[in-house]
């Protein structure tokens, strides 16, 4: 018995060590650089850094407000109308932005509100002067709200649908109007959900990279992550990168600690029970207001998606698909994201199995540090955004030769680790349940090792494993974080190619690439969801 458990523990510890090596190695690289060039590092704590840090927090705060406050009312409107034609469609549509790569969304926003966007004519008429396009803060905000308004709406709706149907009936019997039922039923539920939702949105916005990179303009609209990227790629100023990265890590760590206090879920689960069974009594005025509100939110969310499709179809997709660089990038993307996903699932499985084995071994004793690290330590990965890990290794590897030859390795490992919190969440419940059911049986029958994996674990983990794989692959496929740092002529992924076409003003090409990226990511995400849902 002890033998089969210790095997799993060893696997778990190995996975934990590998993850820690990647994250801590990056931080170590930064600290070594800082120690080696102390004057440079301290000199980098200047007005520029302060301004960038300020802007990072400021845009995250505004994005959070603009996402969360309207989401409260949109969620409430949807909760007040539990069944109408198109409701399920709206909710599915609201799940899409999270599945779209940030590069694609940035492009969609530009295609709509940019200088040459679909709305440029209208906006020029409205403001009476030539529309300059939304770069800078306004562009960042629009894109962040596009991502997070639907997410927050779904989270709030989930909270509202947890209200027992008896309470709605009571409200109906007592004759509560919209205001009274908001005050006595909806607001108490929403109020307790707000800290978690707002915290999650704030974290996502404070660490967003691709959006700010593509929509932020110049030093006035730069966040810490983009400044790190610029310091390494354009200014070759490792000292500045180090100080920026340290500030970023401290900032996100502070946010995470704060979020932990609020009890926020860092991975943002927004699964909704469909077809809630209840009736709500409303008057005509409220219904009209709700319809207007939902339609506005729908237009705001659907707009950039339609723009992505329309812009993509205008591009010469056939020529694009025939280009050697596009094909090479697509192939590179597929290979790298598949490897990252595979690595992610293997590491996650090892962690989950190791944690469970430690739990079994200790019996009723309190959990040791190794188990606790395997339990919640994975979420700590989110403290260190991919760009930061990339930056740390970029600086470290500078001394080891040509940094860009490490691109595939860095992309695969960082993206794998980045997706681990999500993969662990998909795999762990199934593994723990299967273990609780089969552990004793396996012991008594002597089913161990490979046989156990094949006969017992595999059947119960096939589906959650596939979910995790597809999700990790989608995340990695659309990521423009590490590749922005390590990408070069030799190693290009689709998002990287998109970025370089954008910066050389080949907008039609970029739009076509964005459509391809969007479709591939959506297919993967849908596969992940379908596999997850069919799980018994």
């Amino acid at each position: 018995m002890s033998q089969m458990i210790s095997g799993r523990i060893a696997g778990g510890i190995f996975a934990l060590a590998a993850t820690a090596l990647l994250v801590l190695g990056a931080l170590g690289g930064l600290l070594m650089e800082a120690a080696g060039n102390w004057n440079g590092a301290t000199a980098a704590f200047d007005a520029y850094l302060l301004r960038v840090a300020q802007f990072t927090l400021w845009q995250a705060l505004l994005s959070t407000l603009l996402s969360v406050v309207p989401a409260i009312f949109v969620a409430r409107a949807l909760a007040r109308h539990p069944s109408f034609p198109g409701r399920a469609f709206i909710l599915r549509l609201f799940a899409l932005p999270l599945a779209l790569p940030a590069v694609v969304v940035a492009l969609g926003v530009l295609a709509l509100y940019g200088r040459a966007g679909y709305f440029a004519g209208l906006l020029t008429l409205t403001f009476g002067e030539r529309w300059q396009g939304i770069y800078g803060l306004s562009g960042i905000l629009v894109a962040h709200v596009f991502f997070n308004l639907p997410l927050a709406t779904r989270l709030f709706l989930g909270a509202l649908e947890s209200v027992p149907s008896g309470q709605w009936r009571l409200a109906a019997q007592l004759g509560m109007n919209a205001r009274a039922s908001f005050r006595f039923i909806e607001w108490p539920v929403l109020r307790s959900a707000i800290p978690g939702v707002a915290g999650l949105v704030f974290m996502l916005c404070a660490t967003s990279f691709a959006i700010v990179l593509m929509l932020g303009g110049g030093p006035r609209a730069t966040t810490l992550e983009v400044a790190i990227y610029q310091a390494l790629r354009f200014d070759f100023d490792p000292a500045r990168a180090v100080s920026l990265t340290l500030v970023q890590v401290l900032l996100t760590a502070a946010i995470v600690v704060f979020l932990g206090r609020l009890g926020a879920s860092m991975t943002g689960d927004a699964s909704l029970p469909l077809a809630p069974n209840r009736r709500i009594w409303r008057n005509g005025g409220e219904t009209l207001a709700n319809i207007v509100l939902v339609l506005l939110a729908l237009a705001f969310v659907a707009g950039p998606m339609l723009a992505i499709v329309a812009g993509g179809l205008q591009a010469d997709l056939v020529r694009l698909a025939g280009e050697r660089s596009v094909r090479a990038a697509a192939l590179t993307s597929l290979i790298l994201s598949a490897s990252a996903a595979l690595l992610c699932v293997i590491l996650s499985f090892a962690l989950v199995a190791g944690r469970r084995a430690l739990e079994l071994r200790r019996g009723n004793m309190p959990a040791g540090p190794a188990e606790r690290f395997m339990d919640s330590g994975v979420a700590m990965v989110l403290v260190v955004p991919p760009v930061v890990i990339g930056a740390g290794w970029f600086i470290l590897l500078q001394n080891a030769g040509d940094v860009f030859t490490f691109a595939p390795l860095m992309v695969v490992t960082v993206n794998a680790v980045m997706a681990m919190p999500f993969a662990v969440r998909a795999i762990r419940p199934a593994y723990d349940a299967a273990s609780a059911r089969h552990e004793k049986l396996c012991l008594s029958l002597g089913v161990t090792g490979w046989n156990r994996l094949r006969l017992v674990d595999w059947p119960s983990l096939r589906r959650p494993g596939a979910t995790a794989l597809a999700f990790a692959m989608a995340l990695s496929f659309g990521d423009l974080g590490v590749i922005a740092l390590f990408g070069s002529e030799n190693v290009q992924t689709l998002p990287y190619l998109l970025l370089s076409r954008m910066s050389s003003y080949r907008t039609a090409d970029a739009a076509g690439l964005a459509l391809m990226l969007a479709i591939l990511c959506l297919v993967l995400m849908m596969a992940a969801e379908r596999l997850g849902r069919a799980r018994a």
């Binding site: 009936r169 009571l170 109906a172 007592l174 004759g175 509560m176 009274a180 006595f184 009736r279």
Partner: protein
């Protein structure tokens, strides 16, 4: 609306060919006539339609056809709040973040705009249900029985002539349940409202109900005096439902019937 019923005693209830079907479920048809001020125990197997019938009377479910009359007025098209009805559920009768006084006060004003007179009535109702001194408690600081007392206090301040109880005391222990039924009987003696209470337990019916309506497969299968039904004079289906222990208090009588 409220003032119309103030101080009134119970109202007659009539269900006239009231049809209702859950999606994918079998059709239900309810016909029932209850005199003003009566206490009726609604009994029947799980899923037979007891709660559905109460929900139709309260207005939580819309019938596909038929009429619901309360005090001879057709209420079929009225929303729940406009019906002269109060309902107490098995749970979730209280808003978890509001005090006892506020939960009761909602029975007077759904926006808690309360006059001095309202406040006095509320205090009285709370005292009447044995909760004096617990006005400022939150629901989680009350026991299960106390929470249902708060719901009854709200019924008192609402002053509606019809009270529907949907297994309201089913989750309480036997002694507590008897206590609540006795309180219900006292309140009924003072106010005289018409009470329909869905219950599984013949002992509940025995303690307070005059009439038993037996619901089976979405229909009112039989209506009769509680003491007859419970001493074996009820229909066979009812006897089978409650079982030997309760139905045949006097085996000789029961055998005679068949």
């Amino acid at each position: 609306m409220r003032k119309d019923h103030k101080g009134t005693s119970g109202a007659a209830i009539r269900l006239d060919n009231v049809r209702f079907t859950y999606p994918g479920g079998p059709p239900m048809i309810f016909d029932l006539s209850v005199g003003p001020g009566t206490i009726v125990a609604i009994m029947g197997p799980s899923g037979s339609g007891k709660s559905t019938m109460l929900n139709l009377i309260a207005g939580f479910e819309p019938p596909s056809s038929g009429r619901i009359l309360i005090a001879d007025a057709d209420v079929t098209a009225l929303p729940p709040a406009k019906r002269p009805v109060s309902m107490v559920f098995q749970e979730n009768n209280l808003f978890a973040h509001l005090t006892t006084a506020a939960n009761v006060g909602l029975g007077r004003s759904p926006s808690l705009k309360l006059s001095e007179e309202d406040r006095q009535d509320i205090t009285q109702a709370i005292a009447r249900t044995g909760l004096a001194g617990k006005e400022m408690r939150l629901p989680h600081e009350l026991s299960g029985g106390e929470r249902q007392r708060v719901a009854l206090a709200r019924v008192l301040v609402r002053e509606r002539p019809v009270l529907l109880l949907d297994e309201a005391f089913a989750s309480l222990g036997p002694a507590l349940r008897d206590e609540m039924l006795d309180l219900l009987a006292e309140l009924h003696a003072e106010r005289g409202m018409t009470v329909l209470m869905a219950t599984h337990d013949p002992a509940d019916a025995d303690r307070v109900a005059e009439i038993i309506a037996f619901i089976d497969e979405g229909r009112v299968a039989a209506v009769g005096l509680a003491k007859d039904f419970l001493s074996g004079y009820g229909p066979d289906a009812f006897a089978r439902y409650v079982g030997e222990r309760h139905a045949n208090r006097d085996p000789a009588l029961a055998r005679k019937r068949t």
